[in-house]
């Protein structure tokens, strides 16, 4: 009886603790929603939360119409989608070639590719700008897709190679005995087993591209190409900004990110853990 009570109390404490953590994590989102419904004159003040009276839904109207939200959203979805597809494909193929295949210099190439994680974006802005200008691809979607792929590849390869290393060799040997070639092994053995890592890479690439601004600002100039972070910038004034509408834009652009996170949260954690432990 006492043991059961203790167990219940322990469970209650855990629930309280988890609720507090959940609330702390949810708070910025609730705050974002709350302030996106205020008027600009109510925006500043002493209280952390304010009851919008009445809620200014017109902020969302401005965000969508004046902020060209859907135009940017479609561009973001397209550019991020292509980037994710290419990064996953390349990181699986590269990961397999570098981890499973034995060839001279594979270790060196692997290290070289992984060091990409350490390259700061700012150092590449001007050289890339020159290169894209020379190839005539400035202000095009490809001018964003290419660097996004490049900057996501290193981390993608790192996670994927860690995962591929953990796949038992015997499975591949069995596939070879069944007459599979390299491509078939990748398609039928590696890809199905690497799904958690692929989801992790996809989610991380998604977040990197979704919120990226500095490269988009440098390589694009036209609204028809630009991505979601520009919807926030469109409400920046010379000295002060229309913060409540900016909050509405931010809330709207956070929604797809939250959906992605909710859908793939479990696989993402699994992928990171699996990639981190090597036996």
């Amino acid at each position: 009886m006492i043991a059961e009570k203790k167990k219940k109390w322990k469970r209650a404490r855990l629930l309280i603790l988890l609720s507090v953590v959940a609330l702390l994590n949810l708070f910025p989102l609730v705050w974002l929603l709350d302030y996106s419904l205020l008027s600009n004159s109510d925006f500043y003040g002493d209280s952390i939360m304010k009851l919008p009276a009445p809620p200014l839904w017109s902020n969302y109207f401005s965000a969508i119409v004046d902020g060209k939200f859907f135009n940017y959203l479609l561009n973001s979805l397209f550019i991020t989608g292509i980037t994710i597809a290419v990064v996953i494909t390349l990181s699986i193929c590269l990961g397999y070639a570098l981890i499973r295949m034995k060839w001279k210099g594979s270790r060196f190439v692997y290290t070289l590719l992984i060091t990409g994680i350490m390259i700061p974006i700012h150092t590449t802005l001007l050289p890339n700008f020159f290169a894209f200008q020379a190839y005539g691809i400035l202000n095009t979607r490809i001018a964003l897709i290419l660097p996004y792929i490049a900057f996501s590849m290193s981390l993608g390869l790192f996670i994927m190679s860690g995962f591929i290393e953990g796949i038992p060799r015997s499975l591949e040997e069995a596939a070879v005995m069944d007459g599979c070639g390299v491509l078939r092994i990748i398609k039928n053995v590696v890809i199905p087993l690497s799904k958690p890592a692929a989801v992790t890479v996809a989610t991380m690439t998604f977040f990197n591209c979704w919120n990226e601004f500095i490269m988009a600002a440098t390589y694009t100039s036209s609204d028809t190409i630009r991505t979601l972070p520009f919807a926030v910038m469109n409400f920046s004034g010379k000295y002060t900004s229309n913060y409540t509408v900016q909050f509405a834009v931010m809330f709207l652009s956070t929604v797809p990110a939250i959906i992605i996170f909710i859908l793939f949260n479990k696989q993402m954690t699994k992928g990171i853990i699996a990639g981190a432990i090597k036996e």
Binding site: S39, N40, S41, F43, Y44, S62, D66, F78, G81, I82, A85, L125, L126, F129, F130, Q133, G136, I137, L138, N139, T140, R141, I142, A143, I145, F213, I214, A217, T218, S221, S222, T224, I225, M233, N234, F235, S236, G237, K238, Y239, T240, S241, N242, Y243
Partner: protein, 444 residues
């Protein structure tokens, strides 16, 4: 399902590639259009991203009107906020790929790289004889006798005040330091913040620093001489006294608590909500009087005056004033003549000057007095009077008159000086150090 996904992927990539080709083609076609004089697309690079309010709206409105009058002209507008704008401008200059027309700031640190790379087209000064530009407004864009741009605003710092609060406590707007201190004490006793200052962005405090020095010494040139190393900051009695007086004022809670970290909008909000009686900022905030989201009582009572003289040497009517950014045309543009034609249209007095005045957006660099009418807010009338009665104006503010490194160092030093985090001697020694470094950098 997998096949459908694969097809979708292929289609998307093809779409991406064709999208690219289409965009590039449209850029390359500019020259052809220019030759046939049929359809042209002007690439316009602006630092006003918000096209639905303020100056961005005005810029867009005049562009749209121009397109209606000239159906063969379209604009491809690229807008970025100030920081991103400067970064991208560097890339454009380095790659010799400047947009046809762009925002150009006349500050030495910003216009010099453009001039050094011969990136700006020279304009004919005679074209602007009837444009009502205020005397000296074009000087910032003139180099070696040639004109490279046109300014859009006249900017000057003022002390906004809430007349209703002054009336409530039977106070007059201060005309000297003693009166300012008295007003401050009365407001503090009644739970009102005497003055709202914005410190987070640092530049408002640097401008306040310059104006307090001006209102202490009555000498506009002294601070510029110190930047040019003709005199030292350290040991100068005027500078020491000015910093001591402003620190004394700070200690008496003249500004709101934590003003050094107060964001621009937050500082302004204290004033517009009637929590602060005064607010130190530039004339560009004159839209407060017509902003319908603000309380009506406030709009009817907002006024502006000079920051009062701090000593007998200082003059109330001396102003920290300069001409804000403007527009220029790329020297290498294939559409140079068309761009100059549009620039002339944009800056026509009945366009930029009149519309910005009538909409209460900003103070143009052109004579706006002929547009003053009974419909103008009292605040607009106050501002016209302040500028008209100015006994002297500073020109480019002191922290912008040297290198960008000097500007960064200077703003931080000014923030410390105003908030009292460092003594007068320490601040002045730091300024000497920054000015020395800037001087040697410029000589290199």
């Amino acid at each position: 399902m997998k096949k459908i996904l694969a097809y979708l992927l292929v289609i998307s990539i093809v779409f991406a590639m064709t999208g690219c080709a289409g965009e590039t083609a449209s850029n390359d076609n500019d020259s052809q259009y220019a030759k046939t004089d049929e359809k042209i697309t002007i690439r316009f690079f602006s630092n006003l991203p918000d096209r639905s309010t303020g100056q961005g709206k005005l810029e867009q409105m005049i562009m749209d009107n121009y397109c209606k009058e000239n159906p063969n002209v379209t604009f491809e507008v690229e807008t970025l906020d100030d920081v991103s704008f400067s970064q991208k401008l560097k890339a454009y200059i380095a790659s010799n790929n400047l947009p046809d027309m762009l925002y150009v700031n006349s500050l030495p640190a910003e216009i010099t790289p453009l001039l050094n790379s011969n990136a700006l087209a020279d304009l004919s000064e005679e074209d602007y004889e009837n444009y009502d530009f205020i005397q000296g407004a074009l000087d910032g864009y003139k180099f070696d006798g040639k004109l490279y741009g046109l300014p859009r605003n006249t900017d000057f710092m003022v002390l906004y005040y809430n007349q209703a609060l002054f009336d409530q406590y039977d106070l007059d707007f201060p005309t000297n330091l003693e009166e300012l201190k008295h007003c401050s004490e009365v407001f503090l006793k009644n739970g009102i913040i005497p003055c709202s200052l914005s410190g987070q962005e640092q530049w408002p405090l640097a401008l306040y620093f310059q104006e307090v020095i001006l209102k202490t010494s009555g000498n506009q040139q002294e601070i510029y001489d110190a930047v040019d190393r003709k005199i030292q900051f350290s040991g100068n009695d005027n500078f020491i006294k000015a910093i001591e007086l402003m620190q004394e004022l700070t200690k008496s809670n003249f500004a709101q608590e934590g003003f050094a970290a107060s964001e621009y909008g937050a500082a302004m909000n204290l004033f517009t909500q009637g929590k602060a009686a005064m607010y130190y900022m530039g004339e560009w905030d004159m839209g407060m009087a017509t902003d319908e989201t603000l309380p009506e009582e406030f709009r009817e009572n907002v006024r502006a005056g000079y920051l009062p003289a701090f000593t007998e040497n200082g003059k109330n009517t001396d102003l920290v004033a300069w001409y804000g950014g403007g527009y220029g045309v790329s020297a290498n543009s294939k559409l140079k003549d068309e761009c100059i034609k549009f620039l002339n249209y944009l800056m026509k007095p009945e366009n930029w000057a009149k519309l910005s005045w009538e909409n209460g957006l900003n103070f143009p660099a052109q004579d706006a007095t002929k547009y003053v009418s009974d419909n103008d807010s009292q605040l607009q009338k106050d501002l016209v009077e302040i500028l008209a009665n100015a006994s002297s104006t500073s020109g480019v503010d002191f922290y912008d008159s040297s290198t960008s490194e000097f500007m960064t160092a200077c703003m931080s030093i000014c923030q410390n000086a105003v908030s009292g985090n460092a003594s007068a001697e320490e601040c002045l020694a730091e300024l000497d150090k920054a000015a020395d470094t800037a001087k040697s950098d410029m000589e290199k």
